[in-house]
Symmetry: C2
Subunit: 211 residues, 2 copies
Amino acid sequence: MTIIITAFERSPDGGKGLARDTRVRWALEEVGQPYEVRLVSFQAMKEPAHLAIHPFGQIPTFEQGDFSLFETGAIVFHIAERHTGLLPDDPYARVRAVTWMFAALNTVEPAILELANTKLLEGDKPWTAERLPLVEDRLRTRLKQLSAHIGSADWLDGRFSAGDLMMVSVLLRIKSAGILNEYPNLTAYVARGEARPAYKRAFAAQLAVNG
Amino acid sequence: MTIIITAFERSPDGGKGLARDTRVRWALEEVGQPYEVRLVSFQAMKEPAHLAIHPFGQIPTFEQGDFSLFETGAIVFHIAERHTGLLPDDPYARVRAVTWMFAALNTVEPAILELANTKLLEGDKPWTAERLPLVEDRLRTRLKQLSAHIGSADWLDGRFSAGDLMMVSVLLRIKSAGILNEYPNLTAYVARGEARPAYKRAFAAQLAVNG
């Protein structure tokens, strides 16, 4: 049964690959599953037909026959569970990989989201110049801990997993900000993710829509 | 093998049950698994022994024999996977329950975290009075969508699941703020969670440490 995902008709980042459909595309490429894409406009995302499969009116979604899913973490987990390549076979290594998915999304990404909100939604506010360093320091706390964990390893826990896919995707959001470069091993970690053939195919596919 | 979790020696909320060990206690109570608690101080959380099991220096952690885990979402998922009571048997219903765990942690909680940071970390800043309504409105966007999804249902997707455990836990963080009361069905949803005997036991156990 064909896998259909949704993506922005026009991504706000203009093809930098930061919209979350790239994470799902990447997961599907890693496990070698073909997929089709349905593009949705900002307006259509808030309409009943889309809200029926995504209560928060966002992209991406995942559909296969009658089954549908939303929430990037859950979609990547579902793909990883049903195909080989994103989760280890050993049950304990497997739950540790899932741990890193949750850590990427609930421990690292909220600090990155707060920085993004500061710049995108409050960039014109009188307080932002003074407030920005506070927000950056909160993010640094997390990046420093992550950097200490990775050390000189290639990936978070042994071989590349869905946990790395998610963590690299989250860190890519701050690649263009100088802050990531303060942690050379994180910069190298992100570059290793981007160098994977599956990531390159996913990136190219989203760029073909948005470039 | 005994399950050992970690919790704050002294929770910053003074026993309101908002520290994340309550989520793990609740999950263990729902599935009827006994556990022991090791209390850790703020200082000990940042020391090598704790960082070896939690790279971000937080609580809770989960240990059972030689196996250890961090990240609340992953711990609850691990408990839910290995015991009956928190995930449906049907594989599609199961992944939908996991979806709501991710939605609670990555779509709803970041907006709540931003509000918490505004009040706790920036409460004394000159911009906070003017900025707070913007942050609250970003949270309202999510609460409104969640409220529309729940409608008159008791739980997010059929029977109570780990997804509800996580969503109720996330919403409890804003129970004392007026904002949750703007959505009566969410207030009722949270109250249904709090009324569960397993939640009550978890709450009482953390209160015994922090009250």
